[in-house]
């Protein structure tokens, strides 16, 4: 499968470049600081609340990590001229996009694995269920998956990595802010905006340890739509 071949090379690229480690290290450090200051720092709380707070902060950092991880995917290939290698090889455009996205997802998963010491700390000193941790991480992975897919789309559109990061941030912020639009619009519209919102309606259940099918479906659908868009952009690029 060509997508896996591309994913393997891309992941090796992350692991060999300094920037990959810098992204993980910086975001892990910030996440740890927030965990210490806000999730643990308050007066005595129930363990489940602390864990919920951890997932609350982590969701923000997951989105930020996704922007930085995905910005290089296709923009860098274009910048370095290696995209013509993929274009001139018998590989479908959707395999190129899928390979790139899978590598980014694997790298994000490495980041998420690195954060697991925080819920384990809560577990050692308190009482939380494995189910809660599992649900939270599933939510982070799904949120990350959707953000990475949007990032892949942004990276396909942009000429360089910085533009890719900016474009992706704009799209993700717009998706998050759908929640504000939902508050000021009338009924049918406000429901739609609320359902579209990247974070507000769909993430909090995971944070509290609940897995709803509609939230899983939302993140998977967003992932699919964004990757589909990225594929179309790659196809269109062959015209110029």
């Amino acid at each position: 499968m060509k997508a896996l071949l591309i994913a393997r090379r891309e992941l090796a690229g992350y692991l060999r470049s300094l920037s990959g480690y810098v992204i993980i290290a910086a975001i892990l450090a910030l996440n740890g600081l927030f965990f210490n200051a806000f999730a643990l720092g308050r007066a005595a709380e129930r363990s489940a609340t602390v864990l919920s707070n951890f997932f609350y902060y982590s969701s923000g950092f997951t989105i930020v990590a996704s922007v930085f991880i995905s910005m290089r995917l296709l923009a860098e290939e274009r910048q370095a001229g290696t995209l013509s290698l993929l274009y001139s090889s018998p590989v479908r455009d959707r395999d190129i996009v899928l390979g790139k996205y899978l590598a980014a997802l694997a790298f994000l998963a490495i980041y998420l694995v690195c954060t697991i010491y925080m819920p384990l700390l809560v577990m050692v000193n308190g009482k939380v269920s494995f189910g809660h941790i599992f649900a939270g991480y599933l939510g982070l992975l799904l949120l990350g998956s959707a953000s990475l897919a949007v990032g892949t789309f942004g990276s396909a559109l942009a000429r360089n990595q910085i533009m890719a990061a900016i474009l992706t941030s704009v799209m993700l912020v717009a998706l998050i802010l759908c929640w504000l639009l939902a508050r000021i619009t009338e009924q049918p519209l406000s429901n739609i905006f609320s359902a579209l919102s990247l974070w507000n309606q769909h993430f909090p259940p995971f944070q509290g340890g609940l897995v709803h099918l509609r939230d899983v479906a939302y993140y998977l659908l967003l992932t699919y739509v964004a990757l589909f868009g990225a594929t179309r952009v790659l196809e269109a690029r062959r015209w110029r």
């Binding site: 060509k2 071949l5 591309i6 090379r9 090796a12 690229g13 060999r16 470049s17 370095a80 001229g81 290696t82 995209l83 013509s84 290698l85 993929l86 274009y87 001139s88 090889s89 018998p90 590989v91 062959r238 015209w239 110029r240």
Partner: protein, 312 residues
């Protein structure tokens, strides 16, 4: 066989390639010549299935490049104008990746890599990181990635650009060594770099084909041949002796030593020799004009440019 018919590519309003048509037979080494901006890279990108044409047809081994791009891609090796290299990989890893990307089985990839490294003299660089390679080596790796999957057709976009004279000679020898096993289309904007290597030349200007053929054919059809001679003797006598063959110009005059240029094709050399010796002059040197092809090329591309201006 590569067949190109009516190939046209517009970038917005601008036509980079217009109504291009040519045929390349199996086993040929073809030079694709044009000044910068003539449409070479665009044409090669279309042949390499990187870019889609606005109209026209490219058929490679019976497969249409627009309708069956995958079949075409399996049969071509493409070196773009900048070699598509991943800096963080070693040469061996990179070539193995490209081989698999182009459909070579994972188990067979390593032996293909060694084969490609053998052909491009990269054997000792197998473990070197691509980011540490010099420009000449990067260009070589670019050629190696184009032939690692044993394609029938190689499309090389300016493989000699930015190389020093020794490296250019090395690249020329490399391309010559590919003759027989591959059909090669190699582009350049510098004529002498490819004129000796190639069986045939295609000359493009303003997005259109202005001439094609062997060096000799081009020179003959365009009447651009010249012969240079160096003689000792009277100038008037020499000019009179050569006047029957073609227009003569004096290139250099140093006492009785004369350098002359006769506008005539190279096969007139025996007549020139006879005429000069018959007139009692000492013939010191007799040669084909060296600037001949270069000037043909420039004339062609200039007139092509003029045509384009008239058309627009």
């Amino acid at each position: 066989m590569i067949q190109v018919e009516g190939l046209t590519k517009y970038y917005g309003e601008y036509a980079a390639v217009r109504d291009l048509a040519f045929t390349i037979n199996k086993g040929e080494v073809i030079g694709f010549l044009g000044l910068n901006g003539a449409g070479k890279t665009t044409t090669l990108k279309i042949l390499g299935c990187v870019l889609l044409p606005t109209s026209g047809r490219v058929v490679i081994d019976g497969y249409d490049a627009v309708r069956d791009p995958h079949e075409v891609r399996k049969r071509i090796g493409f070196l773009p104008d900048t070699p598509p290299l991943y800096d963080e990989m070693t040469v061996g890893e990179y070539l193995a990746y490209v081989a698999q990307l182009r459909g070579v089985h994972a188990g067979e990839a390593r032996s293909r890599v060694l084969e490609a490294e053998e052909k491009t003299a990269l054997r000792e660089m197998d473990g070197a990181l691509i980011s540490t390679l010099s420009h000449g080596y990067r260009q070589r790796v670019g050629v190696a990635q184009a032939l690692v999957h044993r394609p029938a057709f190689l499309i090389l976009d300016e493989p000699t650009s930015g190389l020093d004279p020794a490296q250019i000679r090395g690249m020329r020898e490399l391309i010559r060594s590919l003759k027989g096993t591959h059909t090669v289309l190699v582009s350049s904007h510098i004529l002498p770099e490819i004129s000796e290597t190639c069986d045939r030349l295609l000359i493009i200007s303003g997005g259109q084909l202005v001439a094609q053929g062997t060096e000799e054919e081009l020179a003959r059809n365009l009447g651009g041949g010249s012969i240079e001679v160096e003689v000792r003797g009277e100038k008037a006598k020499a000019l009179a002796a050569l006047s029957g063959i073609g227009p003569v110009s004096v290139m250099q005059e140093d006492g009785a030593l004369l350098s002359l240029q006769v506008q005539a094709s190279a096969d007139q050399r025996p007549r020139v020799a006879q005429a000069l010796v018959g007139a009692g002059l000492e013939l010191l040197r007799l040669d084909r004009g060296t600037q001949r092809l270069e000037s043909i090329f420039l004339n062609l591309t200039r007139s092509g440019g003029a045509k384009q201006e008239v058309a627009s």
